[in-house]
Symmetry: none
DNA sequence: AATGAATGAGGTTTCATTCAT
DNA sequence: GATGAATGAAACCTCATTCAT
């Protein structure tokens, strides 16, 4: 588990889990609202329900909080994706089901995901790499589904490209909400994106 | 022009243009490297080639620098898009040409665009809205091309969706370079994305 | 008590009192010497015996220090005046006693009072009004003594005028020390001022 | 003339006079409103009707402006007092006339005088001494009138004391306007102060 | 003589982090 | 384990003064 990358001076593992939960919850709310840099450690402590001194019993630096937050979000998204993918459908409908569930997930977690992408660059190189790995894992998961679902297999590159497209279109729903969520319900958005994914613009012959 | 939203205590308009150019150039380089928050005003002044005092003759606050930078990038991207779109081709090939040029542009400006999207949230509400308007204008441009190029017109919503997809796929080339630019050259990327845009996965019949 | 008009991020009330005492003591010494504007916050912190960070745990802005100082001086002068006035003499001698004690007080606090009058204008409008009220209260005290001491009562306006005169003559002893304290001891000054207060120039008949 | 204590890099004496007049006028207005320290040199230049560069052709430092202002005010007050004193009355009525005119003068110049007394401490030691000398000269003038007016001469000390009292009571009219100018017209104030000056409280016998 | 752009020392304030209780 | 007062480096910004034009 990623959490162990951040050492704590407290011994009781159960307590650590509990405090970090409080912390992440508080921090996400604050980061959403004001961003990482404009949020102070004191605000984080307060929102977490304990003192600044206690906060520093469970982290070493402010950046650790961001790392914990990112890690937590990735973990939750990963769990969600695993669930989304874990279907007993076969063929195309398994891909459709996966996309549907993934878009649903991105809808539910749009704030968290937005926070994460806006703030990763504030992490150290090391932490960024760690987080990148997680992102790759999730891409792999999507690639798997794609490969398992299509009747005629795509090239490796094409699979990656399509996985990226789907991945990004899920985030896009949250990132560009000011535009998309005015025009579409989530259902409609999902339906249209799938339509274009599978059929394209369908005007090749005429060119 | 957006530049006038930021007042300067210097009178000479030509000089203002010159100094702000220096400033934007310096700032973009720094923001790329360390992000807005970790860049100090003194570093910006130094990178711009003048003293901290002079910097503040041309802006009021540090945020003004970010605004100027964002405005500049948008302006350049908009110019690029106008050029990309302004073609004497007709029909599908005009869309293809536009996408091709737009992806090219995103390749050239990937650092700048990345900086902009990572830092807009540090702008004031007002400035964010101003910048959002610019983004919308650019989307409109893409929508125009799409509508003018397709033999059978798309619904308004679909047009917007496709415009968003193209828009985001252009950015994706830069944002997800760690993955995409390992697998594809820009040419390949463009070709494959166009392929899927127009033809989709082509497996509908088999489902 | 006026002190509560300035919020502190420290909770312990006793500690606040202690630190602010240190602060006021240090600040008065500095203001005496160089004035409010030429004194830096860092100097204030140093003279108070703590770090700049700690200083700002007990105030919000530099102006707060000035306010605290003014408030403190008024409070001490008020206490002194209350004591001066609280006498079991009756009739004229109670007024004489009060003036005597008040002049004594102004002698002891001449530096502080000078500082206060020279710097109030650096306070915000609000704070200035607050401080003005205190001044009025002290005038009222003097008016009381005058009214209670004189065998034949003065008109309200005359009472106020005389109170102002006495008040200002007390300050004058400190403000114009370069002249008065060369010519008079405090005793002599008091004696002569009382003489003229009660008897005037005594040349009316001859006019 | 005091003005020559401040050197200028401009040669034309007439021009110097003109520019300094503009400067003093502008500066007094600003100092009245915001005090010396919160007024910037650029504001002074603007209020004077010329550029910051030009301002510095006629002074060396910001303090010079304050000195010029103080000097100007003293000069004007001195002129006023000379006029006030220069009377062909003799005896008591010459003193009365002088006080009357002096109080009138203090009424007209209350803002300027207030400014001056609040800001002198911002002058260098040297300048303060220079200004003090002027103040002493004015006191001497009052002492003269007193001595020449009274039928039975006062001791030197008493003369000085009375001169100080009158001097301060004139300033008091402006300094404590928030109180006095609510209760009295200038006429009433003058009349009552004279009354008490000459007759005192008139209750000595009863003590 | 007049201008105003350039300079940079120095001011106030914030905030991540420590450590004694 | 928890607290919160103390710390000080470092950030942003101002403004008196200079000097090339």
């Amino acid at each position: 588990m990623g959490m162990n990358k951040v050492p704590s001076s407290v011994k009781d593992e159960r307590l650590i889990m509990k405090r970090r939960d409080q912390m992440i919850k508080g921090a996400v709310a604050l980061f959403k609202q004001k961003g990482f840099h404009k949020t102070t450690t004191r605000e984080i402590a307060k929102a977490s329900g304990f003192s600044i001194g206690t906060l520093y019993e469970y982290i070493r630096t402010k950046e650790d909080v961001l790392f914990l937050v990112c890690d937590y979000i990735y973990e939750r998204v990963k769990d969600g994706m695993e669930e989304a993918i874990d279907t007993n459908e076969i063929g195309m409908s398994s891909l459709k089901k996966a996309i549907h569930s993934y878009f649903q997930l991105m809808d539910e977690m749009q704030d968290e995901v937005l926070v994460m992408y806006q703030e990763v660059k504030a992490l150290s190189k090391d932490a960024q790499e760690y987080v990148l790995k997680k992102e790759m894992n999730m891409l792999r998961m999507l690639e798997q589904v794609i490969q398992n679902s299509l009747p005629t297999p795509l090239s490796e590159e094409d699979t990656q490209l399509i996985a990226n497209n789907i991945f990004v279109q899920g985030q896009m729903w949250g990132f560009r909400r000011w535009m998309l969520q005015k025009q579409f319900t989530l259902e409609e958005y999902t339906e249209r994106q799938m339509h274009f994914l599978f059929e394209g613009l369908e005007i090749t012959k005429e060119v």
